[in-house]
Symmetry: C2
Subunit: 136 residues, 2 copies
DNA sequence: CGTGCACCTTCCCATCATGTCAAGGTCAAG
DNA sequence: CTTGACCTTGACATGATGGGAAGGTGCACG
């Protein structure tokens, strides 16, 4: 199986497959006489695993660990769970930060006329750091 | 005022001030005879404006627009509000994506024993794409 | 006046995951 | 044999930021 077919089958682009090989996330694929990379069912499973991990937002480093655990028959599920929970916490933290920013900006936007006049609490806040519109 | 003092005063690192100058976000600072950049009160205001904008998650491109509006006395606040609302929507979208990932992963994690045994619904899902633990 | 230290300058490289583009080799069908 | 689709490597870009090297400047203290 060529890299293009493997890409099609797993949803990982050919570009990324080569990249993952280069950074050592996956082992180097076999080659034909002409130098084409060749992929078998095992490789496809690994690539699909990576794709699903990325879809869940795991970083390359985390995927590296997950792959190692996946291929370790003596693994403890606690370790997998730890990585997952860590990642959940990271994502929750990102959401918190976004929520804070959205909250502030929503408040400012709500107090902005949004018409042709130039005065605007959003710019006011950005310029001075004063909330001026501490209305509530 | 030196770049270091300006950085201290505004919370924008010297590194980033130079960078913003290079990409044309701020105009080139004046220089002393020796080539040191010099900053005045106006420059500090601009840098603080940028810093607050970044704290609210605006991209450089958006900040460029906001700065232009800020310096335009004939601006319409509707334009500022539009940029802000656009940004709010972007952030909400990011939160939605995160929430989806967190939801899925939480579900998997909740069904993982997290003990010394190797079987683990998280790895199961990553490997096969089957939710196996469609318990509820 | 000299020395040392903190600061400044420019320039290059790294991150992270991904995309784009270019120049050239290979394969299969017509 | 040509054409077109595919493969190869390599370089460069993104966005915002950090790190570091190599060399010049400013100031205070002895």
């Amino acid at each position: 199986m060529n890299i293009g077919e493997a890409a099609e089958a797993t949803g990982v682009t050919a570009k990324m497959i080569r990249h993952y090989e280069q950074i050592g996330l996956i082992k180097a694929a076999g080659r034909t006489g002409a130098g084409y990379r060749v992929y078998g069912p095992n490789d496809l499973s690994t690539l699909s695993f990576i794709r699903r991990s990325r879809d869940l937002g795991f970083s390359i480093a985390q995927i590296r660990d997950l792959l190692a655990l996946w291929q370790d028959r003596a693994r403890a599920s606690s370790e997998v769970k730890r990585i997952a929970n860590e990642h959940i916490e990271e994502m929750r933290e990102k959401m918190r930060l976004l929520q804070d920013m959205v909250g502030t900006l929503e408040h400012l936007s709500a107090n902005c006329h949004g018409d042709a006049r130039p005065d605007c609490p959003i710019l006011q806040q950005l310029a001075t750091g004063d909330a001026e519109t501490s209305c509530c």
